[in-house]
């Protein structure tokens, strides 16, 4: 899932995008995403993707490092592209561009904004329970991924993974998952206890650092509006 890499980029980046406010970045993302989804021609999509790529440069995000994440939607969209290409190859390419553009836009947001900030903005309009589940999931993900990694390592060291013995592998996987799930659930019982001790009342409060909007923030929002308008109005060249 590359969460570690993305956290690293969003936490340690120091570009103008990293420094600007989370709300304005989310607004910009929403505008670009909407534009990409409603665009119907190749020129506009090319333009939108170019804008996103420029923003990657502005954000000093090495596109080579995370760009491959946009490849998966690209590959999955190939299938739909083939279907749409009955209406001509352009239709097919549009499908692929939309997929890649949308994915890149999401990646831009999460590589320039630490996830804690994204969630603290979510918490403004999402039910707190959902935000809490997000936060818990995030923490648990690492703990469990580590556990799973260690389990797989021991299985490998003990010679439990045999490339062509399907049945043996299945048995091993089931017993590994069983161990993992039991351990995780017992862990969650311990976590619940300690959370209670620490005063947990069904809410995980997080820091809302809503800095006063800077000039960059207004520019970002404005850019979003311009991009959407530019997508909507008919261009006659």
């Amino acid at each position: 899932m590359h969460i570690a890499e993305i956290d690293n980029l969003s936490l340690n980046g120091n570009s103008i995008l990293h420094k600007s406010g989370t709300i304005s970045k989310i607004i910009l993302t929403v505008f670009i995403l909407t534009s990409i989804i409603i665009s119907k021609d190749l020129y506009r999509l090319t333009g939108l993707i170019s804008i996103v790529l420029v923003l990657f440069v502005v954000g000093k995000i090495p596109i080579t490092q995370i760009g491959h994440l946009a490849l998966y939607p690209a590959l999955f969209s190939v299938f739909f592209a083939v279907l749409s290409s009955q209406q001509g190859w352009v239709a097919g390419i549009i499908v692929i561009f939309k997929a890649v553009g949308a994915a890149l836009t999401m990646l831009l947001l999460i590589t320039t904004t630490p996830y804690v900030d994204v969630f603290s903005v979510f918490s403004l309009f999402m039910p707190s329970l959902i935000v809490d589940i997000f936060l818990m999931t995030y923490r648990s993900f690492f703990i469990i991924a580590d556990k799973l990694h260690n389990l797989m390592t021991s299985i490998r060291l003990k010679g439990g993974y045999k490339p062509w013995q399907l049945l043996l592998n299945l048995k091993t996987i089931a017993s590994m998952l069983g161990t993992l799930i039991i351990q995780s659930f017992e862990m969650s019982e311990r976590m619940y206890k300690i959370y209670e001790l620490r005063g947990y009342s069904g809410r995980i409060p997080i820091r809302m650092d809503l800095k006063p909007a800077s000039r960059t923030d207004y520019w970002l929002c404005l850019a979003g509006i311009i991009i959407l308008t530019g997508t909507v109005i008919p261009w006659k060249i």
Binding site: D7, Y115, E196, L197, R198, G199, P205, I206
Partner: protein, 293 residues
């Protein structure tokens, strides 16, 4: 006799002392029917006392701590902390207690170090400024200010321990409970942490209950030692008293601290020497033997 709000009892010297914690012959049964009993001597801890619980694996040390914290309901026996029954008055008691369990990963709630340390004061409804003040104060104290904006997952094990300790100390609890806090720390981090804990008891009169398997550090963190073995508390006393009972230690799978072992051997050879528990004492004691003859 139990007086609401405070427990009084008469100790060996006849004074009436206030006990923060009292545990009498506790029995617990886990869901899978494992029975744990903690009988024998009474377990007590006074304000500002540093207590260490020793015992073999599976003796029930963690179970005892869980009962003191009110996380488990005793099947038999009595637990009282600050005059309250922990299990029934959990929500009141909780506010006066800080905890660091062995696996700190499971203890960290906040998505950032700051959020984690600020968790309890925020949940208790302190104002934003107060929360900020408290969080920064304790971070400064533990020397982890530079970590405040980090994501806990990416910290080293030693750093995570400190963050957990900060989260436990942020409300200045009257009682601090630490289950094997020194495990997997390197020597320097261990010494640092011992220093911090001792400072805190001195300044705030915090009662500290620890468990550990590292017997050599016990004299530095304990005023009183309890030994749990085979379902009962078999010994209680200060390090000198407890560590001189080597048979008892042996029964409980414990070794004697290296220094006390060395000096016991010298004694057995006929030298009149006191058993030391810290390096300084040991040095002095050796000098005494050498100078005597």
């Amino acid at each position: 006799m139990v007086v609401p709000g405070r427990n009084h009892y008469t100790n060996r010297d006849g004074d009436t002392m206030e006990n923060l914690i009292e545990v009498e012959c506790l029995k617990h049964v886990y869901p899978d029917k494992t029975e744990v009993s903690i009988c024998g001597l009474h377990f007590t801890a006074k304000e500002g006392e540093r207590v260490t619980i020793l015992g073999p694996n599976g003796a029930g040390k963690t179970t005892l701590l869980y009962h003191i914290l009110g996380l488990l309901k005793p099947v038999e026996g009595k637990v009282s902390v600050m005059g309250m029954e922990p299990f029934n008055q959990f929500n009141e008691l909780r506010k006066h207690v800080g905890v660091v369990f062995q696996n700190v990963d499971e203890q960290i709630i906040g998505p950032s170090v700051y959020d984690d340390i600020a968790f309890t004061p925020r949940s208790e409804g302190y104002s934003k400024e107060q929360v900020d003040q408290m969080t920064r104060d304790i971070s400064h104290r533990l020397g982890i200010e530079q970590l405040l904006n980090k994501i806990p997952h990416y910290l080293s094990s030693g750093q995570k321990k400190k963050v957990a300790l900060a989260g436990a100390l942020v409300m200045s609890p009257k009682l601090l409970i630490l289950d094997e806090p020194f495990d997997s720390l390197d020597s320097k981090s261990k010494t640092e942490m011992i220093g911090i804990l001792n400072e805190i008891t001195k300044e705030h009169g915090t009662t500290i209950i620890t468990t550990t398997h590292d017997i050599n550090i016990v004299p530095y963190i304990a005023d009183t030692i309890y030994i749990l073995n085979n379902g009962s508390i078999v010994a209680k006393g200060n390090p000198q008293e407890v560590f001189s009972q080597s048979e008892l230690l042996n029964d409980a799978n414990l070794e004697t601290p290296i220094l006390s072992e060395l000096f016991t051997r010298l004694r057995n050879r006929g030298f009149e020497v006191n058993i030391p528990y810290t390096l300084d004492d040991a040095e002095q004691n050796i000098l005494k033997i050498i100078e005597k003859p």
